[in-house]
Amino acid sequence: MNASELNSLASMHGLQQKLNIISNNIANVDTVGYKSKDAEFQTVLTSLMSQPKGFQLQGRLTPLGVSFGNGVKLAPQQMDASEGSLKVTDQATDLAIQGDGLFAVNVHSTDAAGNVTDRTAWTRDGSFKLTPDAQGNRYLGTAQGHLVLGTSGNPIQVPQGDTIRVDAKGRVFGVDAQGNSTQLDQLQLGKILKPDALQPIGDNLLEAPAGAAPNSVVSTYDPTQVSQPDITVRQGALEQSNVNLAQQMSELTVVERQYQLSARALANADAMMNMASNLHG
């Protein structure tokens, strides 16, 4: 294969990856708390064809050597951390965060050897449910069953028959049939410090990368300790995904056209190879 063909090949691979990101965004246009992803293109390492000193003639503009690019690759994916709009659902267990905060949830996993690990992950998806355990105790959990953590570090248990009430500072109250409310716990909230360092682990969850110092990517945030908290919780509402469908569709057309152009360049390079192979005959 010649350099033009390899160039187009590498570029079409990058374009395919960009297409995957766009289609994932479009598929998640209605996912609660989903954050739009994007990635930009980047040139691939340039090769330099060296030239001897005699090439330095008068009128030459560039330093000696001819540089050739090798196409494009996709730069690392970036998350758009901007807030999505809120949709009022009036469900007591639907919570939305305003500000650059995250809910802490516990991810309980069992590996192949049977070892059980519990780790903390973060989410913007506040479409919580009351999840019963084997004993019939009810806990606040995500739609996928991961339990929501309180500031105590434990899951938030909701007594039988109680409804929950959550105030703007994330304190969770249980309200019994007589209307008496008692504080059960407080939602553990995190403040995003380095949005680019958060890694998606599926189920709409984010995690600090392995080896990162605690509180360096997401720091714990307690709105009750601050007079004017910049992270607040809203009960009975859900944060919609921040995917801008019009923008995604226009990006899609850009990528599609670029793919066409790259494919045409590949066909062109192929025609050249064909001519070279037909030199004799």
């Binding site: 033009s4 040139t43 680019d196």
Partner: protein, 297 residues
């Protein structure tokens, strides 16, 4: 052997290399900060043809070029259009540096009174690779790494004025910042308190914008970064230069897709023309080898 065979082969190689460059331009149509390249071809050195005849003085017939080669790839440093991304760590440079006494045209060239061509100086973000070399880029698609440093998508540290990497820390508390506000001259501020960020020596932090006086001395390194060839002049952008930084924007590549596709077609047909010449030459040689002197009964 007929000379035309080698001349045409050189033509095929040169057109192939030109095609490589145009293909790379087309594939970088959506690469932020990419600058289109133009291939310059050059004829092989001329040689003087002489007529030799027995018993006579040699007589010059004229000069002959014996082929063509790819001389250089020249970047087109024109400003690309800006695309709004609304990402806080995307930056674009708008640069239109004027030099007194010169009038730069739309293609960024000015002709001096003595006929020499001068290219317009360009402004660049200054970044540093792992071994401390300074590189220059117009691709402002930056992120923040685990140490709170502003880095390019390849991990090159973005340098601030004074030559230190930019670290996003709140000047009041020393805590890491997740957002930053950058003004048109590249100064960094805490978006909440509007306080200027400080660099390691306690001075207000700002992006290090470098003015490259002869941009053709930049050698592409890949990853959107350029290395400056040894001895070329680089100075910090000064306040009088018409350079501004825009946050939340990326500079688009300045490749013209229609022009590139035309170039591709042109390169293909030139390649074909050279290929045909080889085939004709081959046919002539075939006649010489097999038909000349053949006695047809």
């Amino acid at each position: 052997m007929l000379r035309g065979l080698y001349t045409a082969a050189a033509g095929m190689i040169a057109q192939q290399q030109r095609n490589d460059t145009i293909t790379n331009n087309i594939n970088n149509l959506n690469t932020p900060g990419y600058k289109a390249q133009n291939s310059e071809l050059r004829s092989f050195p001329e040689m003087l043809m002489l007529r030799l005849a027995k018993g006579q003085q040699t007589k010059p017939i004229g000069s002959l070029n014996s082929g063509v080669m790819m001389e250089e790839n020249v970047n087109n440093f024109q400003q690309g259009s800006l695309k709004q991304t609304q990402r806080p760590f995307d930056f674009a440079i708008q640069s239109n540096i004027q030099v007194s006494g010169l009038n730069f045209g739309a293609n960024g060239e000015a002709v001096k009174a003595n006929g020499s061509v001068v290219f317009q100086p360009q402004a660049y973000f200054t970044v540093q690779d792992g071994s401390g070399n300074h590189l220059y880029t117009r691709d402002g698609n930056f992120t923040v790494n685990g140490q709170g440093q502003l880095v390019t998508s390849d991990g090159y540290q973005v340098l601030g004025k004074g030559g230190n990497p930019i670290v996003l820390t709140d000047p009041a508390t020393g805590n890491p910042l997740s957002k930053v506000r950058v003004n048109a001259s590249g100064q960094l501020f805490n978006p909440n308190t509007r306080q200027a960020l400080q660099n390691a020596s306690g001075q207000p932090a700002a992006l290090m914008l470098s003015r490259i006086n002869s941009p053709n001395q930049l050698i592409p390194q890949g990853n959107g970064a350029y290395q400056l060839s040894a001895g070329a002049s680089v100075t910090p952008v000064n306040a009088a230069d018409d350079v501004s930084v825009k946050q939340g924007y990326l500079e688009q590549s300045n490749v013209n897709s229609a022009q590139s596709m035309t170039g591709l077609m042109d390169a293909l047909r030139m390649y074909q023309a050279n290929q045909q010449v080889i085939r004709y030459t081959d046919r002539s040689l075939n006649l010489a080898a097999n038909e000349v002197g053949k006695i047809n009964g």
